[in-house]
Symmetry: C2
Subunit: 346 residues, 2 copies
């Protein structure tokens, strides 16, 4: 059976890291008998340039029809003054495919400990995931107004929206260390009180999972001082955006963190959590690892190609351990060097 | 002239650290001829117990009539099920006195470097302040709803609200290193776009100040990897809450960070940025330094008693350098030991 993969390379370093990831996939697929085909679609700034829209209808249709979607990165200064910005396409595809559960792993491998800004004795052994709600909250609530003398955003959550991400997070914890941390600001926000009350209800269905509740402000501290205490963090869209970047940084480089966005039905989307890095685009030094690990996540979660997924993951870690790293991880290798080294190890 | 200080000791460790701070003030005042009197008012959980209200009218009146307000910390599990929680009092006093500018310093003294979770070569020399908007945004916007099947919070900012905190932040930068960082989420939120446009306008009035613009998610990374790059961060209420806790943690302990909340007129309020720490209350081990440094900030900013302020600050740093620290900073001293040692050095 041929697996259909929609490819959205996007902007700036997007096409560079996507090329690396597809080269790795091609090599790994041959070795592990994985049958696939890819179709590329315009997305983000590239799509604005090509079609005047960050998310053209053909891209939505192609993405919906695919078995999985690979996305690299979008946005950048070129479209700062565009009537619709590339980021609007990212929000729109999340909505169009109802990708409500964004899973972002934070794992500190031994090879990466030295690259972390955090002291090694604190960060060693860190292994948690953030389950971020991705299709509601402050990102999408109405009314939303940008007037001359004021502006408004609305944080809105319905019961169904909170319940489904809670279920995803608790189920994930069941497959991991059976611990969930709910992160909110329930001492101030109504949506957070609602979030917490819903969590308390859902938690009853998972008696094996231990749960704790933390405020978002305090959690930014705990991620730095006790990151090994977390297993699965479940949080709202805006809080997840903030926390997952902080969490990524303790691993040493955001350039190594993949993510999966899953919906109720339809294909999952896999993407690095980093952006399009306009400052280093075209220099050949973008770290391809987050994109390559996104391919591994896809292999595992969309296609149950676990052996292939593990081989890709292990090759990435081995290459970092061998010190073949791009500048963000303190090395002097190029994107191509890293990609070749990963392929050689699969 | 007698300076009138309203004292709100609050809950759990609140009264413990307030007692330390008042002992230090008494000693320093005698030495520096500072004439003052204090009046204590019920506030937070203590006020709920005493009067059924976290912010009784007499406390508002007393605070408004004072020349400055010292607040320790409020809240805790005792009032989790109370119809009005202690935190409501904190939000209400900020509103009642229109304390729109919350200034939180992040300074890593040599003595504290080892207590930081961040590697010393990164964190050494860190010295920035966060100017957090404190009376609007997601904390106060209407509508705010907590229904059975959904919840809503509103992020609202008016032009006047954004302009006044911008002015405060830029003026602060003029007295410091002439650099401002605006932190927002303007690739997604309308309020952030508004915030950024306002900043661009205000920045023109301060041609000597260099300005950069960052997203909140990326800023959580920069605080860990390049904290010395900041001078003054200006940000919205919710983002400031999150960032200032993260920033506090890189100094080694949130137990050392004071803050000032200033309004357009009327008295400023000074308080530690940490909470009431119910888990260590009554054990005599709460770190009093954030509260004592709040007294120093008050002396400097409300009363221009600069010599006294500096003496208190210097004594705090000397005591940390001498290793006389509470457990949060890795020591085994009691609150009383630390307080006595500070008094001995003034
Ligand atoms: C680019 C931006 C709109 C996006 C977000 O805020 O969700 C990004 O930061 C992310 O985390 O995927
Ligand atoms: C206690 C809480 C309401 C408060 C806030 O969120 O403002 C606190 O975290 C702070 O930062 O002063």
């Amino acid at each position: 059976m041929t697996h259909h993969i929609a490819v959205l390379a996007g902007d700036y370093i997007g096409p560079e890291i996507m090329a690396s990831a597809l080269a790795v996939l091609q090599h790994a697929a041959a070795k592990y008998d994985f049958d696939y085909e890819t179709t590329a679609y315009p997305f983000g700034g590239a799509a604005i340039d090509a079609c005047g829209e960050p998310l053209p209808q053909a891209t939505i249709d192609g993405a919906k029809a695919a078995d999985a979607i690979l996305l690299a990165a979008i946005g950048g200064p070129k479209w700062d003054a565009a009537p619709k910005r590339p980021e609007a396409g990212l929000l729109a595809i999340r909505q169009a495919l109802q990708l409500y559960a964004n899973i972002r792993p934070t794992k500190v491998s031994d090879a990466q400990i030295d690259a972390s800004p955090i002291k090694p004795e604190i960060v060693a052994g860190t292994d948690f995931v953030i389950a971020r709600e991705l299709t509601s909250g402050a990102y999408f609530g109405k009314p939303r107004e940008l007037a001359a003398d004021h502006a408004i955003d609305t944080m809105y959550y319905s019961q169904a929206e909170v319940e489904r991400i809670m279920n995803t997070g608790f189920q994930l914890a069941m497959q991991r260390k059976q611990h969930v941390t709910i992160v909110d600001k329930s001492n101030v926000l109504a949506t957070s009180k609602f979030w917490r009350a819903t969590a308390e209800r859902i938690a009853k269905r998972f008696p094996k999972v231990s749960v704790d509740y933390r405020y978002i402000d305090a959690t930014t501290m705990a991620i730095m001082t006790a990151p090994t205490a977390f297993d699965v963090i479940i949080t709202a869209n805006l809080f997840g955006d903030i926390l997952s970047d902080e969490a990524a940084q303790i691993t040493g480089s955001i350039g190594t963190i993949p993510s999966m966005s899953a919906g109720a039905s339809g294909p999952n989307l896999y993407e690095p959590i980093h952006g399009s890095a306009p400052d280093i685009a075209g220099k050949g030094i973008a770290n391809p690892i987050a994109m390559i690990k996104s391919v591994a996540m896809m292999a595992q979660y969309s296609f149950q190609a676990n052996a292939m997924a593990q081989a890709i993951e292990a090759a990435c870690d081995a290459v970092i351990a061998a010190g073949i790293t791009t500048p963000d991880l303190g090395g002097s290798a190029t994107n191509q060097d890293v990609t070749d080294a990963i392929i050689a190890r699969i």
